[in-house]
Amino acid sequence: MATETVAVTESTPPARRARAGAGLLTWLGVVPFFLFALAFLVAPASYLFIGSFQTLDGQFTLDNFRNLNQPIVVEAYKNSLQVSFATALGGTIFGFLLAYAVTLGRAGRVRSGLLTFSGVASNFAGVPLAFAFIATLGRIGLITTMLKAVGIDLYQQGFSLYSFAGLSLTYMYFQFPLMILIITPALEGLKREWREAAENLGASSGQYWRYIAFPVLLPSLLGTLILLFANAFGAFATAFALTGGTINLVTILIGSQMRGDVLRDPGLGYALAVGMVAIMAVSITAYTLLQRRSERWLKR
């Protein structure tokens, strides 16, 4: 079978003109782009990275990372991780159920409407989103007052919009639409023939889901879970506008550090940011790898 090749070829043909050293001029064309990236993406990150390994007078040190182990910082990381993970998981599950309902389920009629709305909602964040939830579940929010009218006082029951639960509920507004946007194509990528082939080989519907559909979707589901996690982990504006900075998250702490060196240690601030970037980098890389695998499976 010599005629059958399996090579995964790049869509771009190999460069015909770009011979090795094909003139400095050729390479000059991409210099502005990389210069921009260097100045406004790489340099700021590197500055923080280098700073995190330096003492005030520029000596190398690991103290900044050692000093992360103090209650306010540990709590900030813990809160950030918790909120991010909870909303990522919630967003993944709820988003999946909704996407399933409009693709393989029986609510296909509202598919395009849901996708449009998800596109908007996943971009609707920051201050206006925070205010929308204040108007809904704040102390004089619509739902709060309506529930009060029927005898349920949310705030007396221990609920507060400005707490972990309230923040999570707010984040969910941009979390699950993102899940819908990413998982819908994956669900639509499940080929009818896979189900039929499975049935043909004697599989029940449950076995089809267990052995084929779920494993095929798993990279996508895990990848999206991680992406949602990163999405919430880096959020600042929404949390800041909602709580006025009273909730202790990593992003909020970095913000306070920038405004007034609340940690009384610039190096520690850098270490805080570097820790955050590290978590983001790992998450986004994992997401990319998982998404690549998923695409390979779902293609054609």
Partner: protein, 352 residues
């Protein structure tokens, strides 16, 4: 009683009848093709046999058992899809062994059996590969092995070669026939490619617009098409509008020229359509044959055959000549005579 008995199968999609009066008996070990243009109902018929579509009326019996309303996962019918439909998350061996695993076979046994099947499809080293690492042709072989692994009573193939390159298609075609004969498995094969259907099948079912046009061995379908549709769809066909001159003598007129056919014919004076296959035509005049004069329109060299198109009174006829090195090709514009024997031509019945 035949092994697979399909009686008066009918399928309606809304107002649209997709398959009407589908009635075929298939013998054990037979290779049957469903041939027809797209939308003729061949795939729908196959999917009803597989159990993916429920017939509006009619019955399907397999080995004496009524399977008309049985769910697909209980039928023991193997299926190969046009798009391969290999499970992307499983290795080749796991794909092949999937049906066995569901049957409760131990992993070791399933692996051994999968190995045997990979030998059968001549991909013994690919057990650990994933589908995306294989070429289309290889994937389709694996899909075949997967369908065969469960030792189905009937094997269904839905346009299995359509997505492949021409060369691979021919290779794999031979492979499918070899395996089918080796296992002596009853096979239904859906295709729109007449060459595929002809070369593979014991019998061909030609379908059009949901109806069966003709059922028979390839030789019969090709040489004795029962309807105009079959005649046109299968192979190349020359058609000539002629007028019956003398029904008893089998004499008809094509413009100014006379053609003798085998009687009986329709009444004198009636216009009918005459059909003859291009390979029945020869260049030059021949004693006792129908000789027609015309002008060469074009000459197409196709390799093993040379197709010469000749304009005669009121019709353009193609003559397929076998290539040989000593052949002198006529030139366009040249006046030539072509001939065919009386028994080679037949009157097409009205299309309907």
């Amino acid at each position: 009683m035949a092994f697979l008995e399909i009686d008066q199968l009918h399928k309606q999609f809304g107002d649209l009848p997709a398959v009407s009066g589908f009635d075929v008996d298939v013998e054990q070990g037979e290779f049957l093709s469903l041939l027809g243009p797209s939308g003729c109902g061949k795939t729908t018929a196959l999917r009803m046999i597989a159990g993916f579509e429920r017939p509006t009326s009619g019955t399907i019996h397999l080995n004496g058992r009524d399977i008309t309303n049985q769910p697909p996962n209980r039928r023991h019918i193997g299926m190969v899809f046009q798009s391969y439909a290999l499970f992307p998350n499983m290795t080749v061996a796991d794909n092949v062994g999937f049906g066995l695993k569901l049957k409760g076979m131990t992993p070791a046994d399933a692996r051994r059996r999968a190995g045997e099947l990979l030998e059968l499809i001549q991909l013994p080293d690919k057990g650990g590969s994933y589908p995306y690492q294989l070429s289309g042709g290889q994937q389709q072989r694996v899909a075949l092995a997967r369908a065969l692994a469960i030792e189905p009573q009937v094997l269904l193939l839905d346009e299995p070669l359509s997505a492949l390159d021409a060369k691979i298609r021919v290779e794999l075609r031979a492979e499918i026939r070899r395996i089918q004969q080796q296992l002596h498995i009853t096979t239904l094969y859906v295709t729109h490619d007449q060459e595929e259907a002809m070369s593979l099948s014991d019998r061909v079912v030609v379908m059009n617009k949901g109806f069966i046009e003709q059922v028979g061995p390839p030789f019969e379908i090709y040489n004795y098409p029962r309807t105009a549709f079959v005649a046109h769809f299968v192979g190349q066909l020359n058609v000539m509008p002629v007028r019956v001159v003398d029904a008893a003598a089998g004499r008809v007129a094509l413009g100014e020229q006379t053609i003798i056919l085998e009687p009986p014919l329709a009444a004198n004076g009636q216009a009918v359509t005459l059909a003859v296959r291009p390979e029945e035509l020869e260049l030059g005049a021949a004693e006792g044959h129908n000789n027609l004069r015309g002008l060469v329109e074009s000459v197409n060299f196709l390799g093993s055959i040379v197709r010469v198109r000749v304009a005669v009174d009121g019709a353009t006829l193609s003559a397929d000549l076998f290539n040989e090195r000593l052949l002198t090709l006529p030139k366009a514009g040249e006046a030539v005579t072509i001939n065919f024997p009386a028994h080679a031509a037949w009157v097409l019945e009205e299309q309907g």
